[in-house]
Amino acid sequence: MNEDIHIDDVMRHAYVDGRLNAEQQKTMSQYLAAHPQEARELDAWRKDAAQLQAAWQSAGPPLNPALDPAAIRMRLKERTDMRWKLAASVLVALCIGGLSGWQLRPVPTAQLGLAVRPLPMQDAIAAYRVFAGNPALRADALATETDLQQWVAAHFSNAQRLPDLTAKGFLPIFARMLVTEEGPAAVVIYKNDAGQQTGFYIRPPGPGNKLLAEGQRQDGQLLTRYWSDRGYNYALVGSNSTVINGAG
């Protein structure tokens, strides 16, 4: 009778691992009684499995709290945000570096006066647009934590003081260092109570030592005043009323 019982691999292993239900267990016992050699083999497998289990019975070291899924989820989000900000700031640096480099490109003598003249301090406008328009971008210094005047003085020795725009209701809020082909630059963003913004920009004149005659330029709603002093080029970018007579 037992010869008719069909036992497949799943049954065999379930027997070894103790995963058979009562009925299956009974069937298996009948089968093994008729096949003693196989019974010996399966029992040996069973003993091996039990020994492996025994070796791993102890609880192991306590779990590291840092592995809690909520903590991992939070770190993942922080990292994703940070990567995005980093990518944005690299893009900004490239744009600004590219713009300022383009200003300094050599112009063939024959074309002087005829070629499209590079606009002075175009990089200042680019920096202002990026940082005034993206509150999510990381600042290097915040007015709530650092004296921004001292911060600028520490990075640009002998530079002019930050323009005082308090009469127009603007206070410096944060500053950010940037990389340009002329050397390190910085933008300081001011705000008034109404949330309007103005940017002060400073950078060295670069290898060509191209200092600027004082001037200004309208670009859409933005007015940019630029000037040079004490070995640096400066720009103030913002609305007409703020920028005119604001500094310089």
Partner: protein
């Protein structure tokens, strides 16, 4: 946007609670693979991060544990390939068996030495089934092979372990003479 990867909490999202429930077994698997608590921490962390990032790729009817184990195992294989960490000794195995009787200790050691002689894939399969108690179906899901394949591989692995154990016993007998 990058945030969508981990921000949404839709019904099919893996909940923290279900991940937390899996954590001890996931860690134990990582510890068994790496033999080193710090590496196991790294493996589990990297695997959960990966699971959260790619949860949309999970088959809705698939076993969550099998899916997490497969991510962790792949992660381990990658790490091993790069860092050649696999040569670590079985410190954790030895620590695990402090209290039992000498006889059981000797038997378990012999069995473990035999176990360590097996190819890594066979050891992993035996560990998953015998120690972790993962269902055959879940193991099949984990390696994405049919159930029948898992069963025949398991037979081979158990046969190989038995042969290795017999080999160990003979060695012990010779030493004792």
């Amino acid at each position: 946007m990058p945030d969508t990867e981990c921000m949404y909490d839709a019904a099919d999202d893996i909940s923290d609670a279900s991940l937390r429930e899996m954590l001890p077994r996931l860690y134990r698997f990582a510890l068994w693979l790496s033999k080193d608590p710090a590496t196991a921490d790294d493996l589990v962390q990297a695997s959960i991060e990966r699971a959260l990032k790619y949860q949309h790729t999970r088959r809705p009817d698939g076993d969550l544990r099998a899916w997490l184990f497969s991510i962790l195992y792949r992660q381990f294989i990658d790490t091993k390939r790069h860092a050649k960490r696999y040569a670590r000794v079985l410190e954790w195995f030895r620590k695990a068996d402090d209290a039992p009787s000498t006889e059981r200790h000797v038997q378990a050691r012999a069995s473990l030495q035999a176990f360590e002689q097996l190819p890594e894939a066979q050891r992993t399969l035996l560990w998953l089934v015998s120690v972790d108690g993962l269902s055959y179906k879940a193991v099949a899901d984990m390696f994405d092979v049919p159930l029948g394949t898992i069963m025949s591989r398991l037979s081979r692995a158990r046969g190989a372990l038995r042969d290795a154990c017999d080999g160990e016993s003979r060695v012990h007998l010779r030493i004792m003479k």
